[in-house]
């Protein structure tokens, strides 16, 4: 259609929409565009119309109209009501975008000056590329090695900053196969504009084929297990009996009693902190200063591998946790809920 307009043919006027959520957000976008257009046209007509209708004429004196409270209130309330619609609509979509479905498949992303390192649970690893199956919810758990980055995929209308020091996340569910862009959208230094990549949405069979390549070093958990041995973790964190350090089997997402009387949930954030700064929280009955600090020793990728390994130890029939006196381990989902409630 644009071909006859020369260079306009080169402009992609519609951004690709590769998920249902992207379509929902685009609908809101077009609503906002329509409202803005109507308002702009109204104002322009008002300004141009009044300017010509009441241009200076000989013998016609200006009439000092001072104002009108009715008008003022009207043109305050009506735009505000329209804006309430925008607020409600936008917040509703935002809230959905912030709440990943329970069954989402988890992929790990580490941002680092200036690349995105992607790790899959099955051990596949990529740089600046992401492969996802169509129709499946995908949750990205993201960490930064250095400065603030922002992971952005315009085709899904998703974006989240990746702030060093903790995990950030976003989720999406692709509905269109294709090849879409990834950007870093928080300025992160010299090669910021090269921190870009591609996300490929594949159908079931294609994805199966792609994934079957597998990681050369086994699954993410297996990679973690290797690290666990290499770094000497296994000498103190014994698998089935009490060593100098807590047993990690069945630990994930379970409550842990600390030596200062608090109880915390052993979630990703807790595990990350306990690997990097073991002294930050000491499990009840154990000594501080036993485990070395791994801050600066392990990369965020390594930490993700180790956490995957610890997760893999959390079989449903897990043994009771370290937390003596705690009620029997609740199912993972329930524990997560309890954790969320406890945090409030």
């Amino acid at each position: 259609m644009w071909a006859s307009y020369g260079f306009l043919a080169d402009i992609p006027f519609i951004a690709p929409i590769a998920s249902k959520e992207a379509g929902d957000i685009d609908l809101l976008w077009w609503f906002l565009c329509a409202v803005s257009l109507v308002m702009t046209v109204l104002i322009f007509i008002g300004v141009i119309g009044f300017a010509f209708r009441y241009r200076k004429k000989e013998g016609v004196a200006p009439v000092p109209v001072h104002g009108s409270n009715v008008l003022e209130i009207t043109w305050s309330i009506i735009p505000f009501l329209v804006m309430l619609v925008m607020f409600w609509w936008g917040t509703d979509l935002f809230f959905a975008a912030e709440t990943p479905p329970k069954d989402a498949m988890e992929i790990f992303v580490v941002g680092k000056q200036w690349m995105w390192k992607v790790q899959y649970p099955d051990g596949n690893r990529e740089i600046n590329a992401l492969h996802v199956p169509i129709g499946k919810a995908v949750k990205l758990t993201m960490a930064s090695e250095d400065v603030i980055h922002s992971f952005s995929m315009p085709a899904f209308r998703v974006r989240h900053d990746v702030v060093p020091g903790h995990y950030d996340s976003l989720w999406f569910r692709a509905t269109q196969t294709g090849h879409y862009r990834i950007y870093c959208t928080e300025y992160c230094g010299a090669r910021h504009s090269q921190m870009v990549g591609w996300v490929d949405v594949l159908d079931e069979t294609e994805y199966g084929k792609w994934a079957s390549g597998g990681g050369s070093g086994g699954t993410l958990a297996e990679q973690g297990q290797q690290l666990f041995t290499q770094n000497g973790c296994s000498t103190c964190h014994l698998l089935n009996e009490q060593g100098r350090c807590p047993i990690l089997k069945g630990l994930y997402n379970k409550p842990v009693q600390l030596n200062d009387g608090r109880t915390v949930i052993a979630d990703d954030a807790y595990l990350r902190e306990s690997i990097l700064q073991p002294n930050a929280k000491i499990v009840n009955g154990f000594e501080a200063n036993v485990m070395p600090n791994f801050q600066g020793q392990l990369s965020e990728e390594n930490v993700i591998q180790l956490i995957a390994y610890i997760k893999s130890l959390a079989t449903p029939a897990a043994a009771p946790t370290q937390s003596a006196g705690q009620p029997a381990a609740a199912p993972v989902g329930a524990a997560r809920k309890a954790g969320a409630a406890g945090k409030q």
């Binding site: 951004a15 803005s36 400065v147 504009s193």
Partner: protein, 545 residues
Amino acid sequence: MATLQTTPPEVKSEPVNYLNVEHGWKSWLFTTDHKRIAMLYVFSITLMFLIGGSFAMLIRLHLTKPEGLFAPETYNRLFTMHGVVMVFFFLVPSIPATIGNFLLPIMIGAKDLAFPRVNLLSWYLYIFGAVFAIYVVARGGVDTGWTFYAPYSTTYSNSYVLSAALGVFVAGFSSILTGLNFIVTVHKMRAPGMSWMRMPLFIWAHYATGLIQILGTPVVAIALVLVGVERVMHVGIFDPRIGGDPILFQHIFWFYSHPAVYIMILPGMGVISEVIACFSRKRPFGYEFIAASSMGIAILGFLVWGHHMFVTGQSVYTGIVFSFLSFFVAVPSAVKVFNWTATMYKGSVTFESPMLYAFAFIGLFTIGGLTGLFLSTMATDVALHGTYFVVAHFHFVMVGGMVVAFLAGLHFWWPKMTGRMYSEAWSKFAALLIFVGFNLTFLPQFVLGYLGMPRRYAAYPPEFQVLNVLSTAGASILGVSLIIPVVYLTWAWKYGPKVGNNPWGAKGLEWEIQSPPTTFNFDETPTVTEEAYNYGGALEEHQVG
């Protein structure tokens, strides 16, 4: 009345005014006259504007090719220095320090600002800060973005962050002192009879601006101090390695920097209120509402900073509150636009160049304001955050709003400031060119943003090239068209035809005194007996509502 009242050429010796009362550089550098300080500011911020503007031209030049023309490191320094210079050394002081400084005392019937020496000090602080900024440019620049986000600015950047932060810190105190001076002057120096509801809307706008300057600026000052200390000590409260949270910097930074956009637009709104009233020959429609909306914007503006942080990991619930309050602050801005439009209703509209700039302002500010709604709506902000949509939005407000309003104000009061008139033909031509060039520059950027092109990118995907070239074409028109006023206004100051005290036939104390004014503005403190904008006419039968 609207015809120019040029003084007949037979008048030989000029009457004494603030410009010719003293001569020599000392009489300028040690002056405490608010009008001379205003002119000092006019020179200095024009210089900074030209520096910042040349960075902008280089940025647009770079972006004509997807892979760029300069090294990415150079590009990063270009956009950072463009932002730092334009925001802290042009936009924040622009109207308040020049036109505001010149007119605020006159409009309320005072002989000077409350603290003339503090006013001079504030100019020196500005110069001191600007020297630091220029030093940074000369040494190779700073590459953090004008926002100085931690931990990039504290730990990872290899550029002149400390000097740049110090420059901004010092310039910040210049801004605080200006605001302080305005607030005290408005409270304590009004002439007899100049009640609050008789003040011109320009004064209301500057009072509101002053509030933001004194309440917000110290907070960004401390944020920059903390970044500086962290950079020197290699450890600090924004450092995640000791448990610090980089997002806290953004809170402290935006607590100032969001209200700061109202520092940059409120004085412009004040100018537009004056210009529209004068060239419609009418009191602004809904005077009380325009005045109240200035105050409303100043206060509500402090409650919405988190809409810059929806995707940072800020609490979702806090984000919702910020989003809601952001829509609140849109209402007073909309009210102003409606009232300016309605002011022309049953007026007697003429089309002198200040009025053309005012029309451009209303159009561009409307678009700038409406696109702001996209960014306070959370879901669309997620899609548009950090893209060229944001760039286009704030340039519509900052350039289409503030710069155009600044030009409107300069054209409106230049005869008062210099006693001479500029070329009407050139100024109309420039106004038209600015409008066209501006839209061509920034409208394509909205599309780019929607398509997902990130801001601060030294290289971009090739499919965005056409729109970028269009934008650069617009920027070259805009660049040239912004030089034109600099030339003819300067020329007019020296060679323009002399004008009388009230070339526009406008109302207001500033038009009742000599052009250019004498050092103490008024021979005798005036007594105000009527409301502002009393353009006359039969009132009773046409009262609406």
